[in-house]
């Protein structure tokens, strides 16, 4: 695969009647692993269907793997492996034949498909279970079978919709390791939709966050994290005093007990903290640059958009009351 961008869209708009599902979406996704984040109803499913070339766009356009979204849907889907979130397997079929049939539907001939089905089922850890019917599988094995169906034709781009949904910790780890290897060892690209920040952070080096049909953040996770560097300090004896002092000195402070995080403006922030500690006679027992997680990044982004979000769990439940209230007030989203 030599494309510089695996997905590239410009001013993509999709309306369902009056409902605006995608609002001027401009994407540029490079090869590699990209996480797709957003609350329920944000437009993730519509975006995935758009990437698969399945829906007619209201306006705008784009390319996936060099093929036009509007006119070359079949060619796009030949090069994409899609792993749906929900059940998509015939319960009474054996896994090997289920995967073989998935390959035949892409255009593989029967002999190649059965041979490859053996390979991919071994790859996803189902070698000894491949002649069992899908109905006897656990959730983890079903997810692995779905992944095998997606991988059978060795796609250039793998789209995984909540790949760890319903898995316990062990199976989740196995699934994430497998996906990671597809990218690192197989050199394939992945777009992974998930509401679990840890999963996205473990697999993906890039992320794409959408909300109300608009892209609110996209790029390398490390770069995005840099928008909000913080210094974490642990203090002893007068946490409230130093917090007030720092705020008086124009610093942004987040405090939990004796631990505080101060937004790092530049190198002088360290000096400011020490000066504040000296003036308030407070001990600083630990001071270090805080490495933000994707969870922190999500909260910061939503905070900047004017939404009061406490955790990424809000992704599951759609808009929080605070988000709805903000929307009613007509806040601009992006």
């Amino acid at each position: 695969m030599t494309e510089e961008w695996i997905v590239e869209t410009h001013d993509l708009v999709k309306k369902y009647g009056e409902h605006l599902a995608l609002d001027s979406v401009n994407l540029a996704i490079r090869p590699g692993a990209t996480g797709l984040l957003g609350p329920n109803g944000a437009g993730k499913s519509t975006l995935l269907k758009t990437i698969l070339g399945l829906i007619a766009l209201t306006s705008g356009g784009g390319k996936v793997l060099g093929h036009d979204i509007a006119t070359e849907g079949a060619k796009i889907r030949q090069r994409i492996g899609y792993m749906p979130e929900y059940d998509c397997l015939t319960p009474d079929m054996e896994a090997i034949h289920q995967v073989r049939y998935a390959g035949e539907l892409v255009g593989m001939n029967s002999n190649s498909a059965i041979q490859r089905a053996h390979e991919v089922l071994e790859y996803v850890g189902l070698r000894d279970q491949r002649y069992r019917t899908v109905s006897t599988f656990s959730t983890g094995m079903e997810q692995a079978t779905k992944l095998a169906c997606a991988l059978i034709h060795d796609p250039d781009l793998l789209i995984c919709d909540e790949p760890t949904n319903g898995l316990d910790a062990n199976a989740r780890g196995f699934m994430l390791d497998t996906l990671f290897q597809v990218v690192k060892q197989g050199g394939r690209s992945i777009i992974m939709s998930s509401h679990l920040m840890d999963d996205v952070e473990r697999i993906c080096d890039r992320m794409l966050m959408i909300h109300k049909g608009q892209v609110i953040a996209q790029g390398r996770i490390e770069d995005l994290k840099a928008i909000d560097r913080e210094i974490e300090i642990s203090v002893w004896g007068g946490a409230s005093r130093i917090e007030e002092k720092l705020k008086d000195m124009g610093q942004s402070v987040r405090r939990t007990g004796r631990v505080m995080r101060i937004t790092r403006i530049d190198d002088s922030t360290y000096g400011t903290i020490i000066k504040a500690a000296a003036e308030t006679s407070v001990q600083i027992r630990k001071m270090e640059d805080y490495e933000p997680s994707l969870e922190d990044l999500f909260i910061v982004i939503m905070d900047r958009l004017g939404y009061s979000v406490k955790s990424s769990k809000d992704l599951l439940g759609g808009n929080t009351p605070a988000m709805d209230h903000a929307a009613q007030l007509g806040r601009k989203v992006a």
């Binding site: 499913s45 899609y82 015939t90 079929m93 035949e104 255009g107 029967s110 190649s112 316990d168 290897q181």
Partner: protein, 372 residues
């Protein structure tokens, strides 16, 4: 220094006394683990079996919740590990559209005969076999009549307009055989895709909704034809063979036969259209099967009662079977039992098929890829 105290050198001296003074000798054979329990698989004690691997990965079986998912960590693979996860690329060519469509057709039709394709329920397979053999019974009766040479039996079982019509449109077959067969074949064909979400497997691949609908339709029609049309053709062919008939017989009977063949195909098409339309609006195979038979029998019974009470048979236009029977009578030159023109029945059939196909297409368009 007291006697209780000791120095490090003393301790080392003791060790040297215990250890062999000579160079350690290599064993003649490689050391073998004392028992299978000493074997280790990714840090887990026990024999390396497929079951152990799956338990480790997914916590299934007896060891549920006790396994450790480490099988995918190629970076930590050690000597003795037999499962090493390696992604192998595939360098084959993908075939064009017709091959994909052929695989859909084969998946459904071959499923009746062999494993690895669509898993038809055993009851469906049994009904197909029983109905097929039942519809081939007239051949045996005709063979018996030929062998015995009894003219009366030949008139009963031999080829005639009425017998050819009856083979496809006879009351018994259209009460106990074809409707049941159609209900079982068509019932879950689309509804189960909706129920199990398997539509995502089709539509996330380069299979268009037209291809999907068309191949499902042809699959169902082909299976019904294997019973209805095949048995009809076999019956006619058997009559020629058993009676050693010549060209004159063929010329005499071919028009009736072809008329019956067209009606048989119309029956297959109409039943498939109605059945698939019902299947497409449901999420299970029970409702389409029952409602198909309900439409077939309900419309017949309603029309019959209205005709009985008010001596008006126009309501038979609502009955798919009666429309087919009427058109069949007209095409095979049999006296019609309906008071309205056969053209009305033909138009009614076209309308039924049209409406059914419209419902089918619109419902297939609503099948989702991302969520159902």
């Amino acid at each position: 220094m007291s006697e209780d105290e000791f120095e490090l050198d003393d301790l080392l001296d003791d060790v040297s006394k215990v250890a062999p003074s000579a160079e350690p000798t290599q064993p003649e054979t490689l050391p073998v683990p004392a028992s299978p329990g000493e074997a280790e698989f990714m840090g887990e004690a026990g024999a390396v079996t497929g079951k152990a691997r799956m338990e480790a990965a997914y916590g299934t079986g007896e060891g549920e919740g006790q396994g450790v998912a480490m099988v995918a960590q190629s970076a930590t693979v050690e000597a003795g590990t037999i499962f090493h996860q390696v992604y192998r690329p595939w360098r084959g060519n993908l075939n064009p559209r017709w091959v994909r469509n052929w695989s859909i057709l084969r998946h459904h039709v071959y499923g009746l005969f062999s494993k690895g394709h669509r898993p038809w329920p055993i009851t469906t397979k049994l009904v197909v076999v029983i109905v097929l053999f039942g519809s081939l019974m007239p051949i045996i009766s005709m063979a018996m009549a030929t062998l015995t040479g009894i003219e009366a039996l030949m008139q009963i079982y031999g080829v005639s307009r009425a017998n050819l019509w009856g083979h496809v449109l006879g009351t018994f077959r259209n009460t106990c055989c074809w409707p049941l067969l159609t209900a079982l074949i068509v019932g879950g064909l689309i509804s189960e895709d909706r129920q199990h979400g398997t539509s995502a497997i089709y539509f996330s691949r380069p299979v268009t909704r037209t291809d999907y609908t068309l191949m499902k339709y042809i699959s169902a029609a082909l299976i019904l034809s294997m019973v209805i049309v095949f048995s009809y053709c076999a019956y006619y062919a058997a009559a020629i063979i058993f009676n050693n008939e010549g060209w004159a017989y063929l010329l005499d009977t071919l028009p009736f036969f072809l008329g019956g063949l067209v009606v048989a195909i119309m029956l297959v098409v109409t039943f498939t259209s109605i059945g698939l339309a019902l299947s497409s609006i449901s999420t299970g195979k029970f409702f389409p099967a029952v409602s198909f038979m309900g439409i077939l029998f309900g419309s017949r019974i309603l029309a019959f009662l209205i005709n009985l009470l008010f001596e008006r048979d126009t309501l038979y236009l609502l009955s798919p079977y009666d429309n087919l029977a009427h058109v069949g009578q007209y095409m095979m030159g049999i006296n019609t039992t309906y008071d309205f023109p056969a053209a009305w029945s033909f138009v009614a059939l076209l309308l039924m098929n049209g409406i059914s196909l419209y419902i089918l297409i619109s419902r297939v368009n609503s099948l989702e890829v991302t969520r159902e």
